[in-house]
Symmetry: C2
Subunit: 281 residues, 2 copies
Amino acid sequence: MQPSDTPNIPAASEILSAADIPADMTPSQFRRLCREGRFATHTSGVCPGYAQANLIVLPYEDAFDFLLFAQRNPKPCPLLEVTEPGVRLTQICAEDCDIATDFPRYRVYKDGQLVCEPTDVSDIWRDDLVAFVIGCSFSFESDLIEAGIEIRHNTLGCNVPMYITNIPCKPAGKMRGNMVVSMRPLPPQDVVRATMISGAIPKVHGAPIHIGDPSVIGIKDVMRPDFGDPVTINPGEVPVFWPCGVTPQSVVMSVKPKFAITHAPGHMLITDQKNINLRVQ
Amino acid sequence: MQPSDTPNIPAASEILSAADIPADMTPSQFRRLCREGRFATHTSGVCPGYAQANLIVLPYEDAFDFLLFAQRNPKPCPLLEVTEPGVRLTQICAEDCDIATDFPRYRVYKDGQLVCEPTDVSDIWRDDLVAFVIGCSFSFESDLIEAGIEIRHNTLGCNVPMYITNIPCKPAGKMRGNMVVSMRPLPPQDVVRATMISGAIPKVHGAPIHIGDPSVIGIKDVMRPDFGDPVTINPGEVPVFWPCGVTPQSVVMSVKPKFAITHAPGHMLITDQKNINLRVQ
């Protein structure tokens, strides 16, 4: 067994899950585990206090349209960083961070079709690729948890349920598609607090987009999410819906660019940015 | 004398200044005056409550770099709207609004050199031009005034003083340059209030970038601004500096793109957006 170079990190031969990651592991240490292919699953709860991030990578020919799409739709697409064409190393959201290796798992699309889900995309990286690193609802969840609000999918140990809605995003060039939302069921007395707390963090989706009846935003069966896992809604609880960073994946699937890379849902980048620094300032 | 088609608007033969504009004129009516070439001066105080906007127009070949620059530097470059290539009509910040005619006055740059200051750029508009409509500090000024804070350049009836600082913006592609700031002198008891009030409106520059000694941010003589007019600083008053939407003009002057159009400083677009809707929500 190869010894780990950092005391808190399990030995290199082990395949790890979020439960194996010590709470005091730094984002930089965690990204190294991903880079070494030793962590390839959901990141919920990893490195608490640090912002996690979604990814979409597009060729330069599509980059202006997508950047404009994100500018027009900041709630589902809050940009934490956009790289220059071909650049793999981030400059803003993390140091020593390689876009092509430091997510636990990726999805590769050709002409809008999912072709593989590798843990490393350095072998298919190209000089014309632009990476969009997008804020994630895990950031405001940590504030909700701190306020004593139960996050159901955490309690159940599953992924958050996500739905493609009937809410159109503002189109930009060839980019168009409906908003994807994540859902958390809340007891009535927590709804306003959760709205205000998340609303103070517009850099990571901000306030809910809808509270209550799922059919109003085109969700036919709340127990059958389009991404992630279904969660229990107890009697009297209200489903609360937030704009979701998986929206770009929905756009990719409907627009069908020649080439795209995204993160695999729930398999996020752990950035060096503290959630607290994403609040309005 | 040709009769005006709207009771509040002076007759068409008149050349107008801000003092001629009735407080109840709508942004749409005001933009029509600009389109007709009848208003071609500073817009401070026009259509109170509505957001005013800066402009930079660049060819598509420079548009990704500038959009990335704005994404990385949201404080000096808060985007209210970005148009698709060649499109002159706005879709988001105003209805029936023509980018090429509805600012009171423009500046046209070739290879970074100012070549003219027309009141209409429709004759030089091109299919590859992308317009960036950028928030303006006049929006938070109206909140400061409502809070009883004196805005010196308003009291003096002149333009706000603006300075090129030593604060580098985050570069993006070929776009790089130092931040331009606007300055308002405040009595010490108003500094914190002004910081908090403006900080609640991040979509239009947000909180100050610097409070106090101008030399700290590279301003040699606060009485000799790089743009706008100098204003009196009374004994005991503190100069407070906000990121300024003229920053893109400074970038254009240093980067020297082949072609660019901006608004003339102080000659802003009056949008249909209420300032109150630019607050965090």
